[in-house]
């Protein structure tokens, strides 16, 4: 799809109305149904939190929040409930894009615009607008950064700590990572999967550090589990490598700033996607244009930018770091 690179500054944790004049003026009342997977880790928690905060900003928006769940069966029923309730729009971060396509299409057919966030539906008719992070791009960014650091050493040992291995998004990230590394003649020497939790990160990393006595670089997919990863590194007393994170939590950015851990960089995966979704949903329902765009209507697809945060530019990104 077409990609529009929005400056991340536009999305603040405490979003201030920065969009084009008039868009934030109260319009007709909008009831938005919101459904996302279980907030079982910080990034997902931030997704929900920023969505709720954004909705609260607008007196004309009422947010209906479905129970966060990792069960597509339950999530489908929530969308069905929204359709029954005849909400004005649905912002949906599906646990599995393909599995929710069906019901999203049903909503669209019922005249309810669906804003698809983060995990893409399998049919273009299922969403009015789609906001995507860039999982493959994330892997590419992380891989490219590591290449820059280690490109001259073809024997360098690179390790990767995945999130939940069985998720397609994990596969995308790993693919991007591998592709970028291959570009400079490196490969992934060790790969472990955590489960997006701190305990999982700690366990996986402890075993990983044990298995690999000498490592040059680690990419950790997720800054949430990164807390555990760092704890394991500290426990093991290892510091011969540098580490790249993923998602961009506040905590990690502070570490990058302070330079007190092997963490040198992290790849942003915006946790404000759902907040954007809320804004878009409101605009769609109120028939408004998006920000500075000249063309009429909200764009169909928006893919967010995945920049690499390092000590050099961390100041710039601190405000959008999410609290894990």
């Amino acid at each position: 799809g077409c990609t529009s690179n929005e400056p991340p500054e536009e999305e603040n944790t405490a979003p201030a109305p920065v969009a084009a004049e008039g868009n934030d003026e109260p319009g007709e009342d909008v009831v938005i149904g919101f459904s996302a997977p279980a907030a079982d880790h910080g990034w997902m928690g931030a997704i929900t939190q920023t969505a709720v905060d954004t909705a609260e900003q607008y007196p004309d928006v009422t947010l209906r929040q479905a129970e966060a769940t990792n069960d597509v069966n339950v999530q489908i029923s929530h969308i069905e409930q929204f359709i029954n309730d005849e909400v004005d729009a649905i912002v949906l971060l599906p646990f599995d894009g393909a599995a929710l396509t069906e019901v999203a299409t049903k909503a669209m057919e019922a005249g309810i615009p669906v804003i698809n966030v983060d995990r893409e539906f399998s049919s273009p008719f299922a969403a009015r607008a789609t906001i995507l992070g860039d999982n493959y791009g994330m892997g590419v960014s992380a891989g490219t950064y590591i290449c820059e650091q280690l490109g001259d050493n073809p024997d360098a040992v690179v390790a990767e700590i995945q999130g939940i291995e069985a998720l397609p998004l994990t596969q995308d990230r790993s693919q991007g990572f591998a592709d970028a590394l291959a570009d400079c003649g490196l490969d992934v020497d060790a790969q472990v999967a955590a489960d997006f939790t701190i305990q999982g990160g700690e366990t996986a990393t402890s075993n990983l550090l044990q298995a690999e006595p000498q490592i040059d670089a680690i990419w950790n997919h997720d800054d949430d589990q990164g807390v555990g990863v760092l704890a394991a590194i500290e426990n093991a007393g290892r510091d011969e490598f540098f580490m790249v994170g993923g998602a961009g939590s506040l905590d990690v950015m502070e570490h990058i700033q302070a330079g007190d851990t092997p963490l040198e960089a992290t790849v942003i995966y915006p946790s404000t996607q759902a907040a954007d979704g809320i804004k878009m949903a409101r605009l769609v329902v109120q028939n408004k244009n998006m920000g500075d765009l000249v063309s009429a209507g909200v764009p169909r697809t928006t893919q967010l930018y995945a920049p690499v945060v390092t000590a050099d530019n961390v100041e710039e990104y601190l405000p959008i770091g999410f609290e894990s």
Partner: protein, 339 residues
Amino acid sequence: MSGTTAAPPADAPSDAPRRSGWLSGPAVRNLGLVIALALICVAGVITGGERFADIDNVLTILRLASVTGVLAIGMTFVITSGGIDLSVGSVLGLTTVWATTVATQTMAEDIHWVLMVFTALVVGTAAGLVNGALIAYGRVVPFIATLAMLAAARGLAEMISDRQTQQVDVAGFTDFFRADWIGVPVLVWIFALVSVAGWVLLNRTTFGRRTVAIGGNEEASRLAGIKVKRHTLYLYGLAGLAAGIGGVMMLGRTTAGTSTNGVLYELDVIAAVVVGGTLLVGGRGTIVGTVLGVLIFNTLNNIFVINNMSTSAQNVAKGLIIVVAVLIQQRFANRSRST
């Protein structure tokens, strides 16, 4: 010869307190559940009004309940026999993956979509039979055997699907399962059918009687000539079949085969069965109770969403309500049987 034949026993066998099936003992036990469900519905109407007491909403609840409901019917048999099956959710995931492989779908496209259904049912039953064989003939305790299957089936599903979600492209299939009959979704019909079949099987057939007997006293059943091992094999096969049916329904609902389908269903399903009044130690099982248990959990979920509760608050509320529902149900269960 004995001289006792003279005086006939004073009290001839009067079966007075017996009423027909539904209204006797078990029904009284279920009364508590009905009351709990009714209270929950009242709460739904009070807080949700029209939005809750709406035919579409009721159908939404039923549609949601149908997948776990079917699993719970199978689980009721296993638990009644004194066993447990932790693998149902994971086997469900495996069946959805297997039924949506390119090979299966191509074949289904060429021949008939029923092939996909068939594949799912065969895979589910096979996994169940492996459980059953391990338990009956390998004498592995059910908890461990099915826990192993939980891990293995999930892993297998991931390998087969290569961790990609597989979309159902066979139109006939999705059309069928998406449809309504007489205003009621096919999925709900299936749930109803499986429930009735389960009730009949448990209460009206020798298979059901054997199941209860084995759960009540395995040794006594064995000594009475029941083939306990073979029956155990069948029981887990049945639970696997239910998982297969659940898998087909899941596919109908999501049109997506993925190894993450059914994650953690085992807990939901067992909870519904146990809240329904089936004893975890075996020997007593109730299909009606199970259906009520499934409905209670799913109605709760629906009301939470109607009331816009945060997930955290939902969890706390769910914990409290489960306990209260069980306490209500117990009040009645205790009244219905002697000390």
